[in-house]
């Protein structure tokens, strides 16, 4: 399940965070956490509830910036203080609740807030260019091999959970990001649908994206991740290369019974 390139630690990660610390009042949710992801690599972020996984993701996404911490993007020092900073760098996040509008079709959801406008005099009225959007949506979903959709004009509310996850992931790709963070992408999915989403994550890796996945399901992580970073009580507790670890070893690191 691992690619040869990713089993050896890369020279220069695409995104490197160091010393990320986040306090909520007196509580230190993250303490001096280092984290890195390379292009074409899937890094799983695991840990028990309250270990700081979501806090780390939110710090990198800029929605809840860390109190301390430095970031290198493509080797360049950058700062992430807002979601816009993260977006400009090319960091996209798919949250667990997906944030889709059930009453709109797939195309409308993919382009929500970023609609293509018809050119010419009607641009003043901000007339939607449905054809351009549909064309791009079909192209994007085909390139991701999302083939189970009957039509891109299907209402999102009538899709299966796996399809909804696929739409949410595809949506994050429209801005041509370099790093995609997925929060619990397989939670509450059936076996077949989980498989669909894991396949999709592998295709994102083939595109050369750096991917960060939060998950509680260790089997899924072993199936898709190249490296596994374990957080425990707000600190980075362990790092595993998937090909060299076992289910039990990861559980041990999460619970703190080993290392």
């Amino acid at each position: 399940m691992t690619t040869a390139s990713a089993t050896t630690a890369p020279e220069r990660p695409l995104l490197q965070a160091s010393g990320v610390t986040k306090r909520f009042g007196a509580v230190e949710a993250l303490t001096d956490v280092d984290f890195e992801v390379s292009a074409g690599e899937v890094v799983a972020l695991v840990g028990d509830n309250g270990a700081g996984k979501s806090t780390l993701i939110k710090a990198i996404a800029g929605t809840q910036p860390g109190d301390e911490g430095e970031y290198l993007f493509d080797g360049e020092p950058v700062s992430i203080h807002s979601p816009l900073d993260a977006k400009r760098l090319g960091i996209a996040t798919v949250y667990q609740d997906l944030a889709l509008c059930d009453n709109l079709d797939v195309v409308a959801n993919l382009f929500l807030g970023e609609e293509t406008i018809e050119r010419g005099p009607q641009a003043a009225l901000r007339v939607l260019d449905e054809i351009a959007m549909e064309d791009r949506a079909v192209e994007l979903l085909d390139s991701l091999s999302v083939t189970t959709l009957r039509s891109v004009r299907t209402e999102v509310g009538s899709l299966s959970g796996g399809q909804r996850q696929s739409v949410a992931i595809a949506r994050s790709l429209l801005g041509d990001p370099k790093v995609v963070m997925l929060d619990e992408p397989t939670a509450a999915l059936g076996v077949a649908q989980t498989h669909q989403v894991l396949d999709l994550i592998k295709r994102l890796r083939e595109r050369g994206l750096g991917i960060i996945v939060i998950s509680h399901n260790i089997d899924n992580i072993l199936a898709v991740a190249d490296r596994i970073v374990v957080l425990r009580l707000g600190r980075r507790a362990a790092t595993f290369t998937t090909s060299e670890t076992t289910h039990d070893e990861i559980v041990g690191a999460i619970t703190g019974s080993k290392r």
């Binding site: 054809i131 549909e134 064309d135 009957r150 649908q193």
Partner: protein, 402 residues
């Protein structure tokens, strides 16, 4: 214009989103309303053969113009998942402002009408501000408005209580009828525009390599629009002519449909009604959209009030009161706009007004007692809301296979 407003929907073939079950149910909704309307017309015609006369149908158009206009604003509000209970009171207040400025202060008709509309817009701004700034449910904010603006109506009217309108421009809103030439030219333009836009979309889709919409379906829709438009002109020309009030209502519906289905603003209204949090995270200015819709709804309510005053040739203390508010909300819901937000169409304002207006008009022709009329209208509304809830449940079940 009734059938033009609701081209008979048919199941589409090919790669159409209408194959999806929930939408098929939603679409059955429009057909359902068309069938209900037909049934209502058959029943009343069988009881009184004056019902479907040109004279009475022209009256029907004049009767629904005001409430239909108010309902357009209600559709926008319902799409957001909000409610506006102040539209009736606002329509009365705006009409009173117009009437008093025109009659007592000697303002010209156009400035007076503009002042009435501006009154509506300002009230919408207040509603939107309180709903968005303090996160108060729109139900409560506009309920307060309902009382406050009724007080405003009494205040503006002053001691006289009733202001009679005689300005030809103002009374002309409901009293102007156009002859054959205007009627047929407008019909040709409407049918031509519908055909051209459908055909253009087809050509562009084919050129882009996308699946074209079903040709058969397009032809059926076009035929329905053409037949409805021609039938409307034939009926109306046989009596007083094409009423300006009807044209205003249809024109507003067409404009509203364009804005809600073809522009980013409309897309954002649906998005906020479907999932406000998702819209916010997509960078949509949810507050701005909400306030804009409240302003539009109150302005349309003011326009409806002005049209109603024009028809009754007066504004009095009961203007905008009685059952106007409930009928304006009931109409779109009966026609299939959801009370739960995110689903509906501006045409439902016209279609719903036709259903409710037909029932009221028919019951008046049969000289039924007010008690019976209220109970029947209430029952119709209840049935419509039940159907809305059932469809919502079905939709959720259809999407539940996650």
């Amino acid at each position: 214009m009734s059938t033009a407003a609701a081209p008979a929907p048919t199941p589409e073939d090919g790669q159409s989103f209408r194959q999806q079950l929930p939408l098929r149910i939603a679409q059955l909704g429009s057909l359902r309303v068309a069938l209900v309307l037909t049934a209502i017309w058959i029943v009343f015609q069988s009881q009184n053969d004056a019902f479907l006369s040109s004279f009475n149908l022209t009256n029907l158009v004049l009767q629904i113009a005001a409430v239909g206009t108010i309902s357009i604003g209600i559709v926008l509000i319902l799409l957001l998942g909000e409610i506006d209970l102040s539209v009736g009171a606002v329509s009365g207040l705006a009409a009173a402002v117009m009437a008093v400025l025109n009659v007592k202060h000697g303002w010209g008709p156009i400035p007076a009408i503009a002042a009435g509309l501006a009154t509506g817009a300002a009230i919408g701004l207040v509603n939107g501000f309180f709903v968005t700034r303090f996160q108060i449910p729109s139900f409560v904010v506009t309920l307060a408005g309902l009382l406050a603006w009724q007080g405003g109506l009494l205040k503006v009217l002053g001691d006289t209580g009733t202001v009679n309108l005689s300005d030809p421009t103002i009374t002309g809103l409901a009293g102007t009828f156009y002859g054959d030439v205007v009627g047929w030219v407008l019909a040709a333009v409407a049918i031509g525009a519908y055909a051209a836009s459908g055909w253009l979309e087809r050509v562009r889709r084919v050129r882009a390599g996308l699946a074209p919409p079903s040709l058969r379906n397009f032809v059926i829709r076009l035929a329905a629009v053409a037949a409805g438009t021609i039938a409307a002109v034939l009926v109306l020309r046989a009596d007083r002519g094409i009423p300006l009030a009807g044209l205003i209502l249809v024109g507003l519906c067409a404009t509203g449909t364009f804005v809600t289905t073809r522009t980013t603003f409309g897309r954002y209204v649906f998005a906020v009604g479907g999932n406000a949090e998702a819209a916010r995270r997509s960078g949509i200015g949810v507050t701005r959209i909400r306030i804009t819709v409240f302003v539009l709804a109150s302005t349309l309510a003011a326009a409806g009030g002005i049209m109603g005053a024009s028809r009754l040739l007066a504004v009095n203390q009961s203007s905008g009161g009685s059952d106007l508010l409930l009928l304006a909300i009931a109409g779109p819901v009966i026609a299939g706009t959801s009370l739960f937000g995110g689903r509906g169409s501006v045409w439902h304002a016209l279609l719903g007004a036709l259903v409710i207006g037909s029932i009221a008009n028919g019951m008046d022709l049969l000289a039924l007692a007010s008690s019976v009329k209220f109970m029947i209208t209430g029952a119709v509304l209840l049935i419509a809301v039940v159907i809305d809830a059932v469809i919502k449940n079905q939709r959720e079940r259809a999407g539940a296979g996650r």
